[in-house]
Symmetry: C2
Subunit: 377 residues, 2 copies
């Protein structure tokens, strides 16, 4: 059921336009996936995700959903689709990253990771098998392999051992996937994850290992964890040359609009990041003309739309002055408007990228856009 | 331009169905007006107010809007309609109540009230004339007279002096209204306010004074400030008998669903209250079957809609279990869903009341509904 069709390649870069088919529908790539950590994209209704933002796939988070609402409720609801009412494709990360970044007293060994909940201190163990089982229950169309995501910077020995552990865990994830079926009658697909920090030989080894696993799609992890943008681009470039062309490539946790444009040019098809929603809640707006800090005094009597070039309801309906007022008075509607706007912009951006790939002028458009989206307005 | 047409009266109670016409459109009464204190109904987009909640008129708050965003911005925006994009009728309270309840170091004298801002401690003076001028700038279709709202309980002498001050201030409001015109080219209408605490002779005197002022609509203030429900009903009943039948009656700050039903039966046409939104943010849902505390464990695996009998998107789309999860995890979407639901229920309730008045069976329907809406589910 899961298929990827490579539709166009850019003549002047490695950018690609493609089409993923899942049990919950189609995804046109390159794509940005809004993050719905706890089963909700913060501040955004499901119908807004569908109609205003035009999201094609959203993320859920295994670590968070496992803790709250918990597997019994998710299973009784028929998975996260049944629980939150989202009808389109969904991807879950495996929880590895959150175990390392959020939980207390984590202990990693060959078997898996034992950690204490950041909410109530209760003890839990994730193994590769358990991470697959949980994601089966959440009902994601795309399930991520359970990996260790090392910090940055990370010494070579740690990065090497961590990568090798991630590869051994992948074998167990693949085995568990094969032993189990789609929990709710539709196919669920595993994406393995390339690790290796920023060491080229480790990244090459990892990319080759992940490519050899022969799964329907592949991911690049361990980036956007504090390394310089150049290191991110170099590693992504190297890995994209090794990962198979006929399968989608997902760069995890990336990033700013310029990061996304640059990595599309390197051959990445899928992105996710909390930036558009998290920064929205702090009043930072991404637009096709640059970045707006809506809290600044300069917007206080600017009655023009939040972003006249963005077709989204929230960008058109509300003025900059009104949004500034809402952010200053800490009104709920402020983050709501800014989140709608930013996500809508991200989806517009990848949609434009796709169109320019199809039209054959992606490289020159990208050069211009990378400059524009970084300007401070 | 402002007109009120009394369309139906209930044979078994004092309930009325009517129609108000303002420069921004029509209001069918009885009506509930969602409160948009700072120019936003908390957690609700303008299009949701229009299409999902079907609000016909919303409130703004003079005290809050005067402090933030301030009059210069509101005036440059063309008033609050221009600032927040709401196209339908708007009413502003005069700021009197908030001066007494929120501000620090307030000093009341014949001239007006001097107070310090609850935000930055800055000093400001509201007089009856100033309250009119500010509401002209906000651009409300219905402007409230500047009054003193005494606390409850309140000794007789204080209540009497306060009421007499309110009456003298009303004369100044009426004079100022006559001296000034609609700020943005459309008519703005003054509603005077009956005070007198819970003393029948003061209420009678005040209602007669307010009726004699001959304004197009009249309000009852100083209730829903801590007095027993019976005192509220008795005072409302008494005042409604004195206020003219051919003008709309607005009971300020009321109330629970049963308060609204009872006061419709006493002849009130307009209501506002923060309860549906404030309680929504704490997980209390009003439904036609009773009150739900969505945080309770009993809802954790109830996958039925938030309220199957409410046609609102949010009530239909999301399950009780999902909303409980959102409230427990303090996700923004929780208050958003609950606010949409509660306001939608309030508008449904007054719409049903209106229909039953027109159909002639309001009294029996009201008796049944008053019982149902108070049940704890």
């Amino acid at each position: 059921m899961f298929t990827f069709q490579l539709q166009h390649t850019d003549p002047k870069s490695a950018a690609r336009a493609g089409r993923i088919e899942t049990a919950h529908g189609e995804i046109q790539t390159p794509i940005f996936m809004p993050v719905g950590t706890l089963g909700t994209v913060k501040g955004v209704h499901q119908r807004e995700l569908e109609s205003d933002i035009r999201a094609q796939i959203i993320l859920g988070n295994t670590y968070h959903l496992y803790l709250r609402p918990g597997l019994e409720i998710l299973e009784n609801a028929g998975g996260l689709h049944g629980f939150n009412g989202w009808k389109r494709p969904m991807l879950t990360d495996s929880g590895g990253y959150q175990v390392y970044s959020l939980s207390a007293q984590r202990k990693i060994d060959e078997e898996g990771v034992t950690f204490r909940s950041h909410i109530d201190g209760s003890s839990h163990t994730f193994t590769p098998e358990r991470a697959i089982d949980i994601q089966r229950i959440i009902g994601a169309d795309i399930i991520m392999a359970f990996d260790e995501c090392p910090p940055y910077p990370c010494d070579y020995e740690y990065a090497k051992n961590s990568m090798e552990l991630t590869h051994r865990w992948l074998d167990r994830c693949v085995k568990r996937m094969a032993e189990t079926g789609g929990k709710y009658g539709y196919e669920q697909t595993l994406f393995p994850i390339v690790q290796g920090s920023t060491y080229p030989d480790l990244r090459r080894k990892s990319a080759e290992t992940i490519a050899a696993a022969g799964q329907p799609g592949n991911a690049i992890g361990g980036l956007s964890v504090g390394e310089p943008a150049e290191a991110m681009y170099e590693t992504t470039d190297q890995v994209c040359h090794i990962l198979p062309k006929d399968k989608p490539r997902y760069l995890m946790g990336v990033g700013t609009p310029e990061n996304i444009l640059e990595c599309i040019a390197l051959g990445v098809d899928m992105f996710d990041c909390v930036l558009p929603t998290r920064n929205a809640r702090h009043g930072m707006l991404y637009t096709s003309e640059g970045i707006i800090n809506i809290k600044n005094a300069k917007w206080k009597d600017d009655f023009s739309p939040v972003d006249a070039s963005n077709p989204c309801y929230a960008s058109q309906q509300y003025s900059k002055a009104y949004l500034r007022h809402l952010m200053h008075t800490k009104e709920l509607l402020g983050p709501q408007i800014a989140s709608l706007h930013n996500l809508s912009f991200y989806l517009w951006l990848v949609g434009e990228a796709r169109q320019h790939i199809i039209d054959g002028d992606f490289a020159s458009w990208k050069e211009e856009m990378v400059k524009r989206v970084q300007r401070r307005l």
